[in-house]
Subunit: 406 residues, 2 copies
């Protein structure tokens, strides 16, 4: 059994780095707050006896030796970055839970056969730089390191510049730390476990993701003197796109969602009809055929709206992550650990993307979910209970012990 | 006859202050570019023999003596500030046209009975500080000087601070310069004169304006894991409001327009459902009863949308300017001047607000319109011809001579 109070203490101690007035955390990747939590995490890993290295994209790897160093390590961990309106648990539970597993094994004097590697992946959230789960995507070879280093945030700062500015461009090449498998603990970020009164979600699959950048070019003109029928209003166009996206996701539901999270009017003014808007789109489904249908329906709807309103709409697919099907043996190991420990559980699909989904494309991977209050995440009010966090960490530990061998 | 080439030269010389790449002008009120054009204007007025004073809100007044100084001056002028995506003529033609009238009278050695006062009103556009036509509204007593001085732009800078930062908080109290009447020359900013091949618009009325500040409070949540039916999406709510406003304006059309020009998502992120949006609304009609109907329909539509989507929408009416009916005698004077000079003309309603609309509430006022290309304004592509600008300035001069007496 892990030390529930120590885990809870770590979560709340690190929540000070980027704490918001509403009780959440704003710790965008590679920000000064992210540097603070990374420094804390490195020190804690070193104090737990891990050998810590940082790769060229800033991901932190803390290795605990096994009896048989010819075996590949069991990877565990998650991320410590948050959304602009983030909470105290998303990513953090999985990373500090992994640290807690190491501390517990140390205290109990347990040696494992295979080594264990604790990981803090850079930019899982994807809100400062696209795509999300950026560093783990580079780790599995979906993108080159140079490509990722050149990605820009909205201010034009590159990932490379941001890494240098906080001193976290590591000296190890991406992929230096080989892993044999990966297990990630996370809050559910959805309402199912709580509604069904289950403690553990045994994640067997994950939704695929489509991310688009969009740009609408209408025509700026005077709000008072331009008759309604002559307008080429970029915001009215966006409004139709937002509602079309909502209708399309509902049509393909319940196994589909669609969101426009960002929309910026260029040179806005109260008495100017908006002429230009940049926006993003996020569509998901756990079913690849539905993902294709979402893409097709969305493009058709946008083309119709643009033609009718005589505006130009450009859509650029910047990321496509297919649905994930986790490794059957690891899924069974998680399920078994929950059972052995006496926690109620159910199989579940992840609505969110996770680093484990990337790792799953090149090695066996699986995930452990615990409930979060009202299913709320990406919100400062995100909440989870201490017993649930401890239960998830126990399941993580017992899964790791089963895989790594005692 | 005024000097067409000299007028054209002034317009294009001052267009350098805030010139944009697309050939327009970005000269927000009380910005450093606004200071440049104000310095130019003061010097030009002084060189034309005017006695120049600045009031506590930065409006510039250049007085040309008349034979009978017991008579109140005839006010002429407009504004030199622009929209963020503004053109070279909106406001500028009326201000530099007024200067051109003075220069022409000087060259011809014409003295008038009543004095003439050239005015550059501060913040006519209203895009940095609300309301539009701010300084002329204070001049006629719609707002106190202190109230206006405390208005803030989006960065939190007050009008007072902005005035001080460019050294244009004048030493004269608002209203120090009494005027007997006011005549403003302007581009039409709409398509009618051009379409009908008329050179002069004799403006007899102006639309009323409603300005609102709005705020939507939904709930931020995860774009991937929040099912469509559970969302309280602030952007989807805004989208319905935008389309409702469009439908309401069309329903009350053709004598009504409605625009949402600004909308800012708080803490935007690609994979977060927007939780909070601040936005503005602009509704207009030349008919007071239709203005009331617009307000009523809009509030009802917003209440229905907010209740159905379980989000909170706050609407705050920040400005209400009733429709304008210009002074019949001055309207006749403008019409007569156009006729005498042999220009084609028609009566017209102004779709935009103007300082003359404010002055009309306390003194006789009127306006002269000239065509602009395709009716385009509040756009960097705004355009007008040299002969039309000269024609309008001639009509302005002959109107002034008729009122001031030679
Ligand atoms: N787990 C999580 O919130 N990941 C962020 C990436 C995404 O799914 O949008
Ligand atoms: N003339 C003009 O564009 N005025 C700006 C104020 C408004 O009508 O919105």
């Amino acid at each position: 059994q892990i030390d529930s109070a120590r885990l809870w203490g770590s979560i709340h101690e690190t929540a000070q780095f980027g704490a918001t007035a509403k009780g959440g955390v704003k710790r965008l990747t590679l920000s000064s707050e992210d540097k603070q939590v990374r420094d804390w995490f490195r020190k804690a890993c070193e104090e737990a006896g891990l050998e810590v290295h940082t790769d060229a994209l800033g991901s932190q790897f803390g290795l605990r030796k096994g009896r048989d160093m010819s075996k590949l390590p069991v990877g565990i961990g998650s991320h410590l970055d948050t959304q602009p309106t983030g909470g105290k648990y998303d990513g953090i539970l999985g990373t500090l839970g992994a640290l807690e597993v190491i501390r517990t094994l140390n205290d109990a004097g347990i040696e494992t056969e295979a080594p264990i590697c604790v990981v803090n992946w850079t930019n899982e959230e994807g809100s400062r730089f696209a795509p999300a789960m950026m560093a783990s995507a580079a780790y599995v070879g979906d993108f080159t390191t140079d490509d990722i280093l050149s990605r820009k945030d909205i201010e034009g700062t590159t990932v490379g510049q941001a890494l240098d500015s906080i001193g976290y461009r590591g000296d190890k090449p991406v992929g230096f730390q080989k892993l044999g498998c990966f297990v990630e603990l996370h809050i559910e970020q959805g309402p199912i476990l709580e509604a069904e009164g289950k403690t553990i979600g045994v994640v067997d699959s994950g939704q695929g993701v489509l991310w688009y950048d969009g740009k609408i070019s209408g025509f700026e003109s005077h709000a008072g003197s331009t008759p309604m029928p002559l307008r080429r209003d970029a915001l009215a166009t966006l409004s139709e796109i937002v509602l079309a996206m909502e209708a399309i996701a509902r049509k393909h539901g319940p196994n589909a969602v669609g969101t426009i999270g960002e929309a910026v009017i260029a040179n806005p003014s109260r008495n100017v009809i908006p002429g230009e808007i940049a926006f993003t789109m996020d569509c998901r489904s756990a079913d690849g055929a539905i993902m294709d249908a979402l893409d097709r329906d969305l493009r058709a709807a946008i083309a119709e709206i643009a033609a009718r309103r005589k505006v130009d709409v450009k859509i650029d697919l910047v990321w496509r992550k297919p649905p994930t099907h986790f490794d059957p043996k690891l899924i069974a190991a998680v399920e078994n650990a929950a059972k052995t420990l006496g926690y109620s559980s159910r199989r579940i699909t992840s609505g969110a993307g996770h680093d484990a989904c990337n790792l799953n494309t090149v090695m066996p991977a699986a995930m452990v979910f615990v409930p979060c209050k009202d299913g709320i995440s990406h919100n400062e009010l995100e909440d989870a209970t201490q017993p649930d966090c401890a239960a998830g960490t126990n399941v993580l530990m017992h899964t790791v012990l089963a895989i790594a061998g005692v």
